[in-house]
Amino acid sequence: MDTLSANTGRQILLAVVSAIQENAAYLSELDGATGDGDHGVNMNKGFTSFRNKLGDAPVTVSDGLSTLGSTLLTEIGGAMGPLYGTLFMAMGSACENESSITREIFADMLTNALNEVQDLGGAAVGDKTLLDTLVPALEAYKAALANDLSFADALRQMTAAAEAGKESTREMVAKLGRASRLGERSRGHLDAGATSCYLILNALATAMIAELS
């Protein structure tokens, strides 16, 4: 009951794609308040392109994540293409050749993703970016493992922390990217990237919990 078969890639990736597609307008609206209003458009473009590539074939978790990552890298530029591209590629490569994914492997996947994204983008917690979601999510997940919670419960803790992290951006002043133009006026708005990151982690966790065996 505490591992995820590598063959569940299709289900899990489709859940992530749907989360972005369904929230595209919402994400653009959030970005519109402090940025240029295209975050949902950018994300939707990349995720939908991946969805089309996926077709009807089954895929491993690792291959699915890697393909999503390389699609984002190839097709959406800006800062989001490389950041989310790197994030998914890093997750995918951390479970390459594994026939099943344990809760420890998933910790490695998240850790690898965070390291690479931080390495590439140079943002830190408090800058009002997707890292304000990702960092507390990973910390909560690792804490859950340290407390020997089940895979599913650890994922639930991760999701809750991701949501809290996303919410924490509301009171932050943006230090990076377009929104930093607004200075104090960026306060009071959720960060678009932090929100998409929460939606992705939440979709991932929900789909994984359903597939645990």
Binding site: G32, G35, D36, G37, D38, V41, N42, L73, T74, E75, I76, G77, G78, A79, G81, P82, L83, G85, T86, L120, G121, G122, L176, G177, R178, S180, R181, G183
Partner: protein, 335 residues
């Protein structure tokens, strides 16, 4: 939004089609629709010059593809970095086996995508070295020069890098000339109106009528000060006094001065601004070896201008004087 466009999400695609048709003697498409190259690239024996960036800055970036200029350009969405894949494909389109100098501007997205593209190119055995333009003085204090944005000074970096490569120089020599160019270059921008990304449909920042924003970036990044709109002479004075002390430029220096419009400011006004900039430099004993005035690096239909000053040495003079043939910069040898 008074624009001559079709689908606002396809402006870049439509523009690139027209651009290729409009410059059959200079430009060739590549297999990647987001990469254009010089018709004769890769040029045998020559270091390849690559740049790239978001669209909406015409002539930058594709307008500088040409003879003795840039060999291949990665094209992004409006105000959005090209993908790593596009940079990688541009490297391949420009490389004749002598390596590639990727000369681009300091923006988060571009830095990340170039970094990833370089890794991809290295796997193919293509050597890529970079120069990151950071000429925009107001974007960070001089103690944090590596945080400064690249603006119109990039044009001079491409001119110098492209000319150096055309002399048959090695990749290291090209990189060091381009690096020297940008290290000796300082810019500042002033914005008078905002601009609208077609797919967004409304301006995503504001400059009130009667106001101006000194130090604004090429995408509306915040400046150092919003004030009442001043006269051209006062604007020139404010800009020059931000630029000169930063390098610093000193009496006896020979310079290139580039005054570029941001898109919607009439070119007439750029000459009015340039006139005062030239007077101010002259009063400080700084001579203008070569002036450029025009729309060299724009921001859609923003009103405003940038002033760029580059200090020259003998090598830079020779390279700046070299003949060049591109949509954005065409000049005869030594003229």
């Amino acid at each position: 939004m008074q624009r001559i466009i079709n689908d606002p999400t396809l402006v870049v695609e439509d523009m690139l089609k027209g651009f290729v048709k409009g410059h059959p003697d200079l430009i060739a498409p590549t297999d990647d629709p987001r990469v254009l190259k010089y018709k004769h690239a890769p040029v045998t024996g020559k270091v390849g010059i690559v740049t790239g960036g978001g669209s909406g800055h015409k002539p930058a970036f594709v307008g500088y593809i040409g003879r003795n200029m840039v060999d291949a350009v990665a094209v992004g969405e409006i105000f959005s970095s090209p993908s790593a894949q596009a940079f990688y494909n541009a490297f391949k389109a420009a490389d004749s086996g002598n390596g590639v100098a990727c000369l681009y501007g300091n923006y988060a997205g571009d830095n990340m995508n170039v970094k990833l593209a370089r890794k991809m190119a290295e796997k193919d055995g293509i050597r890529v070295e970079t120069v990151v333009a950071n000429d925009d003085v107001p974007s960070a204090p001089s103690s944090e020069r590596n945080k400064r944005r690249g603006v119109a000074g990039e044009v001079l970096m491409w001119k110098v890098g492209g000319a150096k490569a055309a002399t048959g120089a090695s990749l290291d020599e090209v990189i060091s000339a381009a690096q020297k160019a940008i290290d000796n270059t300082r810019s500042v921008g002033v914005g008078l109106t905002p601009c609208t990304i077609p797919a967004v449909g409304k301006p995503n920042f504001t400059i009130e009528p009667g106001k101006m924003e000194m130090g604004i970036g090429h995408h509306g990044e915040p400046g150092v000060q919003v004030t009442d709109l001043k006269s051209a002479n006062e604007i020139a004075e404010a800009m020059v006094s931000l630029i000169l002390p930063d390098l610093p430029f000193e009496s006896g220096d020979e310079t290139v001065v580039l005054v570029s419009g941001l898109g919607a400011t009439p070119v007439m006004e750029l000459y009015i601004l340039f006139n005062r900039v030239a007077e101010l430099l002259d009063a400080k004993g700084i001579s203008i070896y070569r002036p450029y005035v025009g729309n060299y690096f724009t921001s859609l239909e923003m009103m405003g201008a940038t002033v760029t000053v580059m200090r020259l040495d003998d090598e830079l003079k020779t390279l700046i004087d070299m003949e060049a043939d591109s949509m954005g910069l065409t000049q005869f040898a030594g003229s």
